[in-house]
Symmetry: C2
Subunit: 529 residues, 2 copies
Amino acid sequence: MTAQSETVLGETVQRKPGRGRAARRAERSGAASQNAHLRVPFITRNIAPYDLLGEDSLQKIEATADRILAEIGIEFRDDEETVRLFRAAGATVTEVSAGASNLRFEPGMIREILKTAPARFTQHARNPANSVEIGGDATVFAPSYGSPFVMDLDKGRRYGTITDFENLVKLGQSSPWLHHSGGTICEPTDVPVNKRHLDMVYAHMRYSDRAFLGSITAPERAEDSIEMCRILFGADFVDRNCVVMGNFNSTSPLVWDGVSTRGIRAYAAAGQGSVHLPFLLGGAVAPLTTAGAVAQCLAESMAGCALTQLVRPGAPAILASFLSSMSLRTGSPTFGTPEPALGSLVMGQLARRLNLPLRCAGNFSTSKLPDAQAMQQAMMSMMSAVQSGANYILHSAGFLDGLLSMSYEKFMLDADLCGALHAYMAGVAVNEDTLAFDALAENGPGEHLFGCAHTLRHYETSFWDSGLNDDTTFETWSEAGGEDAMTRANRAWKKTLAEYQAPPIDEGRDEALKDFMARRKASVDDAWY
Amino acid sequence: MTAQSETVLGETVQRKPGRGRAARRAERSGAASQNAHLRVPFITRNIAPYDLLGEDSLQKIEATADRILAEIGIEFRDDEETVRLFRAAGATVTEVSAGASNLRFEPGMIREILKTAPARFTQHARNPANSVEIGGDATVFAPSYGSPFVMDLDKGRRYGTITDFENLVKLGQSSPWLHHSGGTICEPTDVPVNKRHLDMVYAHMRYSDRAFLGSITAPERAEDSIEMCRILFGADFVDRNCVVMGNFNSTSPLVWDGVSTRGIRAYAAAGQGSVHLPFLLGGAVAPLTTAGAVAQCLAESMAGCALTQLVRPGAPAILASFLSSMSLRTGSPTFGTPEPALGSLVMGQLARRLNLPLRCAGNFSTSKLPDAQAMQQAMMSMMSAVQSGANYILHSAGFLDGLLSMSYEKFMLDADLCGALHAYMAGVAVNEDTLAFDALAENGPGEHLFGCAHTLRHYETSFWDSGLNDDTTFETWSEAGGEDAMTRANRAWKKTLAEYQAPPIDEGRDEALKDFMARRKASVDDAWY
């Protein structure tokens, strides 16, 4: 056997020069070079989206969204400037209570306003190689967002801390299968509520060199997030480019409150991105039926997106949906169920017709452990996100416990799944080489293809190779301890954190960021609610 | 609060008369009446299939399959009658060794022969309410097939026995989310190889009243299976209707051996169904590239299907694919990976163009435990089966350990997932009621929909309610013991077996079956290989 040969299934096959056993063994460890050919700063989808509904059904949903906007209206609270902007654009304004106005929009008016919103845009990362595109055939995976608790197999469930937050940013940065550092990856509950946004934004800037989300919990925190970006990227660059986004929730049904709209205006005025998300629990704040929930989602999210264009035409805005079902047994939200998955597919169709980028779904689950339930539910939800053609998939890693907990182990399992989805979204190439007629003809019926030229040429890149799943025989697996997937994931996050190295950062900017944070923190007393 | 009201999320809502708390509580146990509105003998899909490839790519794959059949040919071994039938139909026959002939088919010839095969047919169950349709928009779920081992959390992995086989038939019969009893649900290794087919067929007939698969391991065992059906259903009924099917494997690449083709001929001659399955491990017996593997699969499976039409035009034949990837680390097959999932979607498109029913994919996994890996992989595979529009999905429940083991716990997890897929395949209804404009208009912005008429009308049927997943709060779950999904599944199969009741059977026919088996068993010595 020569240095250029290798044993595969007991057969000796030729290997290309310079790739000996040692290199292969390193590759097999599932570490640095795993599936290297699939690594990209963001995914360019090579699969058609899954078009669930026909033209007639889509038109009915759109017409219902238009009727909601025209006949029921959206209530805007505690933000006179937003009401003024929409009134100037032609909305019919009715004051319904102190600080609250019902706004109605003629059919087509919101769509007309949205025409200046970009169908696709770049969110710049401080490492230019990690900048992502959002929209069109580009898909971006970001970690889960907003859990007050964290959990792992060693310490169970507890409130998240800034140390957890930093750990999870580091785990995200270390995965080649996530593209974006996310936002409130967990709540750092050991930091005062009115100051934690500074630490969160800094953690994303310091421990990751990818794009991230800024704060949205108060307008001044949104402004702080953007100001820190000006320090990191330079004010002029920030004015001309999207470097940060805010993820804003409507107050369903059919309300946008002032904290959200003021934040949306802050991001838009700075030319930064915003996600416009109705969280629709069917039967509580939306109809139980998917068609109705999707129509409402479209109406609410379009109204939020439109606001950005009134503030600054061309500001990036992302249509979004977060559909949840309800447990008949407990009345609480459930995740990873079939109906929201179908709704996400429909949202994909609607977003494409509107020519706007879409955020939807993610690796959702109501399980309290990273177990069979967790990944069954996660897959139901995540496949719908990927197949809907969603462009920005928040909640791609770590989501457990109905979003109340960020799980260290599920983070690793989900990130590995995100890798598999890179292979899935690469699609099926059909050409003379991949059709492989010559490979079959080479030896003919009954002869295996282990050593044929076609197999050697494609061997290293044909199949997704998971870094976490165990594909060995029962005997091998059993002798190695017979571990389940969550135990492997537990070891994996510890190993990843132990090996983590922070990306380099300009010392002057780092000092300036720390100085800004110190001044902002000193300027107000701590608040804990 | 009246007897017709119920608390949902702390809100009192009206409930329809005659459905008090007790009835609801029974329903919530996940037992008999769980998701009753979704129960059907087979699924009629209400979602469009996922069309992955465009016309040009599909034509290239079809042309490659035609070239394989015309220029490389298929080798048929040890079955002169099959060679005679194909020669008479126009094939070019070249003897390649003793008993083996290479057959080549002019482009279009196989497709022409297939025109008499039904696009859709009924497989009758002994309980007519459980008869299934296979083809078109009908989908049938059947348990996993062919594992030599069984495993459960109590006793681990061991060789399957006839008791395991009967247990698993009972578990299948007890699930409303499976439609078909399957075939070799596990190998009953404690029964002689040449006699176990009798016990297996009898177990399906006695402990289930659903349709099932007969034996294929030898032509005389195929004949025994059909003869037992004649006893159960009546010979005349069997001659006029499909009551049993055989699942036949080609010997890839591009070979059909005589044991398979003689069996195929036996089923077809009796007017019974057959599945024509290439098991394609890319890089071993097929090209590593998906396009090539699918083209080969199409060629091999079409050739098998065509044989049935030469024997008896109109006999049911199912196109099939079983695509597997290879672990770069071990060279062994892997399951639940992205590339075979994409291949299954393409096979769905090809089957529709050929107007033949399709079997493909299932709940595949290489995990050795019913854990996170198991369900992540299973979902990757199963979603492709469902979305491809596959009509007969074998391996829908229990598949673990790369098909070497049938898992009691995964059987339960998979069957519950099959339930969720009933809801998924019901699709999104879009009409005035489901668009729910009036429900939103009733109270307007900011008001929840708990008690509105629309919510009450749809409350019990809107969302899939899993019988195994835990959707309670962390606190409730934790106080109840904090079990993972596999532990719940373990309890579920034991409870199901404890409560199992055999469906009634005509005593005379039961005696006749036992008598037939006894005579057949007495007629030959035991053989153990």
